[in-house]
Structures are given as C-alpha cells and as structure tokens.
C-alpha cells in the first residue's frame, strides 16, 4: 500500500456517503495493471478513505473469476456498489475520467 499525497478532506467515516465496492482484475504485475491498481489504491486512501472496499483479482491466479465476470481485457475495474454495476477498462491513468465515472468529479459530493 502506498499512501502518498494524502490530501485533506474526505476523512469522515462513511456516514450518509455511499460506500464504494471495487473489484479490480489485473494480470500479475504487468504495467497497465500496476498503474490501475496504484491509482485505485490512492483514491481509496484519499477521496474515498474509509468508504471503499477494494478486491484485486489476478486473472492468472483465478481465471474462473474472470470467466464469471466476462473479463476479456485487463485491467478491468468493476464498480459493484453503489449500483448499478459499472465497468471501466484500462490503466485508469486519467484520474479525472475515473472520478467522473464514479460521480466524484469536481462539484460532486465533497464535504
């Protein structure tokens, strides 16, 4: 876990705010997977601190899970909660785009 760049705010525990449940499919330690994972972990440590669950699945270790969730490309992020389930593919290098997909873009729910 690297928790660099801790920014202020968002440190209130869940109350009233939705809890995000992420399932991130990666392929071992390949660069795109590493980047997506880092981005997501950073987000969980900052904006979504204390209201985010992240499960990382390595498709090489658990291909059954990949079949079950129709994971064709890697990395794939499933936002399982809050509903509806959304799918984001790619290395998540554009954090703004990720935040938009999460409904967390600027002007979104900030304390």
């Amino acid at each position: 876990m690297n928790t660099q760049n801790t920014s202020p705010g968002d440190n209130r525990p869940g109350g009233g705010q939705p809890v995000y449940r992420f399932r991130l499919f990666v392929a071992g330690d390949e660069p795109n997977s590493r980047q997506a994972r880092a981005t997501l972990e950073r987000l969980c440590a900052t904006r979504l601190r204390d209201r985010c669950e992240l499960e990382v699945v390595d498709v090489f270790a658990d291909y059954q899970a990949a079949i079950e969730h129709r994971i064709i490309v890697v990395p794939t992020l499933l936002i399982e909660s809050p509903p509806p389930v959304r799918t984001i593919i790619g290395s998540l290098e554009d954090e703004a785009q990720l935040l938009a997909a999460l409904g967390l873009s600027d002007g979104g729910p900030r304390p």
């Binding site: 499919f25 392929a27 390949e30 795109n32 980047q35 997506a36 498709v59 090489f60 291909y63 059954q64 990949a66 079949i67 129709r70 994971i71 064709i72 490309v73 890697v74 990395p75 794939t76 959304r86 799918t87 984001i88 593919i89 790619g90 290395s91 998540l92 290098e93 554009d94 785009q97 990720l98 997909a101």
Partner: protein, 556 residues
Amino acid sequence: MKHGRKNPRSADAGGKLSAPAPRLEKAPTYICGLDDILEGGLPRGRTTVVNGASGSGKTLLGLEFLYRGALHGEPGIFIGFEEPPEQIRQNAATLGWDLPALEKQNRLFILDARLKPDLVRTGKFSFTGLLAIAAGKCRAMGARRIVIDAFEVALRLFDTPRQIRDELHALNNWLRDSGLTAILTIRPPSRSGASPSEDFFESMADCLLSMDARVTEQIANRRLRVVKYRGSGFGRNEYPYVISPTGLRMAAITSVGLRYKPLGEKISTGNARLDEILDGGCRRASCILLAGLPSTGKTTLAATFAAAACARGERVLYIGFEESEAAMIHNVTSTGIALQPHVEAGRLAFLTQYPEALGVEEHFMAALDRIEAFSPQHVVVDAISACYRMGGKQAAFEYLMRLLNACKEKGITILLLNQLSGVTSYMEISGNEISSMVDTAIFLNYQFSLGETNRVFQVLKSRGSRHSNQKREFRITDNGFVVEEVYLGEGDVLTGAARQRQEEHDRLEAQRLAFEIQMKELELQRLRLAQEQMQQARAQRAILTHPEKSGTPPEA
C-alpha cells in the same frame, strides 16, 4: 538438390527420389467434404483464419470444427464475441448437436466474450484477460482446439492500428505457444480497402479460408475458397457448401480440368442408324448434348440411349427437372421403350426435383450423392434449360459445370437435354455456355414442308470421330426413334430440291461455324477469367509479403 524444401505438391510427386519432406501435421475438421479440400484438415497447432460476411456460416464452421473434434477426443474452446452462448447452443441443437452434453463432460467450453455495452475506457489495456482465461481453461480441459469467433468485434475496443497490431501480435504468439489448432473467424470490413488488422490476420494465418453467401433470385448460393495454405496443397476452386440438417457439407471436387479421364470406347446410342451417323456411336465418358424445341423427341432419344445402356447391364441415372419418374416412364412407353424393367432390375434410377425447390448447391449435392451411391456409367439431365430456375444463369452454369466435371472425372457419360425456346437459334444450342465441355452435339428440329411437319436431326459436332453433318429425318413411332434415309425433301413433289438442299447445306454450315466461333469465344472468356484470378492472387501475395506498404489506418 531441393529436398530441404517443402514441396506443396508432394502428394502427386511420388516422392521416391528425394527424402520425404517433413509433412505438415493436420487436424481433421471432420466436416463433410472439407478435409478433402484441405487435403487432410487444418494445420495442426497453427492458426486458420476464416473470412466471411455475416450469414456465410463461418461461425458454424468454427463450431462444427470444435463439436466434431470433441467427439473425436480433442476438447475445444469457443470464444464468442458476438452471439450469446445460449443462442449458439440452440443453433447447434437444430443440427442435432448436443453441446451441453459435451460441456458437462469438459470436452467443450463456450466463453461468452461479448463486450459490455456500457464499457468506459480510460488508459491502456490488453487482451490478457482473455488469454488468461483461455490458458487456464486449456490446462483444465486438456484442450486441443480453439475457435475465436468474430474477433473483429473485440478489436473495436482499440483506437489505433498500432494497438490492434500489438494485440494481434500478442494473440498470435500465445496461440503459437499454446500448440492449439486455432480458427479465427472475422468479418471483413464493409468499407473498401483492407484495414491493417485484416492484413495482419492474413499474415498470421497459416491457412486462410474465405466463405461467401450470395443470394441470387432468392436462392442462397454458398462458396468456400482456400485462399492460402502454407506448406500444403489444397483444392483451388470455389467449393459450394450447404448447411445440411446435420452440419456443413462441402463438395470436394478435385482440380477441374486436370484429371479428366480420356474419352472411352464407342458405345451405342441405342439406335443403329444414329450410331452409323456418329461413326459407331458416342464415346464412353463423353458429354452429349441433345438440343431442340419442345416435343422434338429429345426425351425419347434419351430414353432410347438409357434403355440400350441398361440392356448392356450398365447403370443409368436419370436426373429430371420437369416430370416425375412415373410420368417419364409412362410417356416413353408409348414409343415402345420399356424403362420400368430396368428400374426394377436396379440399372436405372431417377432423381427428380423441381429446380426451384432447392438452391444450386443442394441440387448439386443431391446429384453427387446419387452418383456416389449408385455409381452409374451414364447420367442423363433432362433438361439443362430448367436449371436456370435454380437461381439464374450463373447458378445453372455452376450446377452444370460441377456436374460435368464430376462425371468427367468419374468416367461417366453424360447426356444433356436442352430445350430451346421459340425462335430456333443455334447460339442457344450450346446451352448455358457449356459448349466447350460438349463432345457431341445433336440438334433436333421440325421441318415444315407442303403441309407436313417432319422431325429432323443433325449432328453438329462430334469430337474425336468422323461424322456426317447431314440433316436426317426421323420419326417417333410406337417402335421408338426411327431414322429415315438421308433427307431429300419430299421426294419428287418438291421442285428445285437440289438448289434448296445446297442452300440449306450452306446455311447449316454457316450456323455450324457460328457455333464453333461461340465455343472459341467462351474458351477465351474462361482463359481470361483464369488470368484475372491469377493476377488477383499475385496482388494478394504482394500484399502479404509487404504488409506495411499497404493498409491505411481506419480512422483517428
């Protein structure tokens, strides 16, 4: 010494002098007829690309490859980017294939790889997920075969040709390392011009098949072509195929034109006078055309021929498009020809169908099936003019060409009846542009004179034998086809008969020459077509050897 080189023709080469080249191992598809075309099957452990528009049956080909492979002890994986697995299972069930049973036994796995419609893309990604699943499943099942269906759909995820190439490269490498015998099906882009992925598809394929379904006059005509096959010989035609009630069926015709048996000995036409005119009869394994207006006696003459062959103990298959078997037998009975005993003795068989009832492939397959099962020495087609109704001129031409080829290869004599319409035109006589295949052409006509209508016939052509071009009168009696002496008009009644005969002779000679010219023109046409095909193949090869020079990026 060249024995280090792979010889694509090694099957024909005898291979006694040089050390045998390491033969490419093949994985049989077990699809009816396809393994003959591919000279054994698909390249084992390598990738085959199947190219075809939607509705061409490429998915079915892939699925059947897996289904039959699984039944023969080679488990397989189907990765579908387009159809939901449930639909695939249902389609298979209509062909009697029980996919769920194979899935339960771990001999088949169908992966639903359809992309989710609401996908958001941000950043870079690759097909590693797919490859991880495939690799995991392969290990678990001991899979030997894999089909990736509609892969072009998956490639839409990527924006640049560069990315597409990288992904294809990764897939290609994985497939090579996996040792799986693979089929990739792709739908070629509808836009003109090859996309870079298409070039790459073609270059990564050791074997490239192209499937095509054309609809002409509401009848679907399907064709399969082997575009390339590295290190192996293959049939170079367009092969017709059908989706039969149990799966795909292809007609494997060996190379047209190269393996014809020479014409055989003379056989009787069943009429001594006609035999005389033909200098002893027709040649066995030849193609005889009987052309004429309706009711000029074509069927009677064909029945005479068939009865004579059966009487010699030979078998005749009568393919009829106009009348039922019973009607045909009954009609010729009045001319003293008894066919029923030959049918009962198993020497005469009928195949009667309405031309509109089936597509041209089904017609051809049905004929081929009967020929295979019955092994006739002679085949009668009554009438080739009806073949137009199978789906137009082209369909008729293809049906006849294939039938003729099949018969010529098997050394079967084929008797074609051609009904001419209204105006008698000798240009029509060749019938569906098959004239160069015809060895003997007999033209039947009416001759009107002094209130009488007489039947006359004339031999317009007879390859490899002397024959008389003179017009002969004949009658259809209750004792069959009776040829009169040389036609002399109406005897003494006619004045100036000699002059008329001369004129008539000149006119016929001119018509015969016109017929010959038409044949040459057709021959020329065919050669031009072959030349064009060669040029296309050359162009294709050039593209394959320099893929980076061609191909334009699809869009930004």
